[in-house]
């Protein structure tokens, strides 16, 4: 596994080059972060097609916003924040537009990501939690994914979503209780 400090230094070097117009440096950044961005987008949206759109838009936005990136946080953190914002907006738009039900979307993710060899209790629980996540409102899903799946702090979540830390905690608490109820329904 690569040393995170080395990776951050490499990112810093590439960001500086990309900011001065080096497109090859930006391409290198896209190549090295594309899988994490896409993975996060999939967990936030629960849909591979939508996640690909989200990842693409987030990376495009990153290039456009690069001149404003001050380097206060790691490039990856900044990029993931952009991804969260794009995912949140897209998910809400998709929920309004799409004729597909959230249940259907959940089934697609399930079929895509669970192979026969993964059958078992843990896989079953993961399947149920995914379906339950799909039924959470977009805002609650975002909170649960960022906190419990991605391991962000309340502060990072509050900062990214533009809410207070206490609001993040209260909403997360509600989301946990709702998720538990949904999980029981999926037994």
């Amino acid at each position: 596994m690569a040393d995170p400090q080395v990776e951050q230094n490499e990112d810093r070097r590439l960001v500086a080059a990309a900011r001065s117009g080096d497109t090859a440096a930006f391409e290198e950044l896209v190549r090295s972060h594309q899988h994490e961005v896409y993975g996060l987008a999939i967990r936030l949206t629960g849909n591979r097609e939508l996640a690909a759109d989200v990842a693409q838009e987030a990376l495009v936005r990153a290039w456009k916003a690069l001149p404003n990136f001050r380097g206060d946080s790691a490039f990856s953190t900044w990029l993931y924040r952009i991804t969260v914002n794009v995912a949140w907006t897209r998910k809400r738009q998709a929920a309004r537009r799409s004729a597909r039900s959230l249940d259907e979307i959940g089934d697609i993710v399930e079929a895509d990501s669970i192979g026969p060899e993964q059958a078992g209790e843990a896989a079953d629980l993961r399947g149920r939690i995914r379906r339950a996540l799909d039924q959470l409102p977009a805002g609650q899903r975002t909170l649960v994914v960022l906190k419990d799946v991605e391991g962000w702090t309340h502060g990072e979540i509050a900062d990214t979503l533009g809410i207070s830390v206490s609001a993040a905690k209260v909403r997360l608490h509600r989301a946990h209780m709702k998720l538990r109820t949904l999980l029981k329904e999926h037994r």
Binding site: E27, Y38, Q56, L59, V144, D148, V149
Partner: protein
């Protein structure tokens, strides 16, 4: 078993399991005896484990993603630049071979 205490404990269980918030002594004592609240706590723990495990399920980005991002921004992709360079090199090499071949075939004298 007090139903009121059950309700109170179940309210604080998510913060206890997910946020590491400590329980009051009375709540802790209740949890130690109440099977219903214990089952609830177990559900939250399973949820926590399952959610964490979602992070480990790697997802590879679609193979076209980098190309599409660069194309959307109108930026040249390195692979394309490399391809163009290789094509140019092949062209130059073919021309050189052709010229060399013609010279060799030219009758002497």
């Amino acid at each position: 078993m007090s139903r009121l205490r059950c309700r109170k404990v179940r309210l604080v269980l998510p913060a206890h399991v997910f946020g590491g918030r400590s329980l009051s002594r009375r709540d802790e004592a209740h949890l130690g005896q109440c099977l219903v609240c214990q089952a609830d706590a177990a559900t939250y723990r399973s949820m926590q484990t399952a959610l964490r495990s979602l992070h480990d399920e790697g997802a590879d980005a679609p193979p076209w993603l980098v190309e599409k991002v660069m194309a959307t921004l109108g930026l040249p992709e390195r692979r394309q630049r490399k391809g163009a360079l290789v094509a140019a090199a092949v062209l130059v090499a073919s021309a050189a071979v052709a010229v060399w071949g013609r010279r060799r075939l030219r009758p002497v004298g």
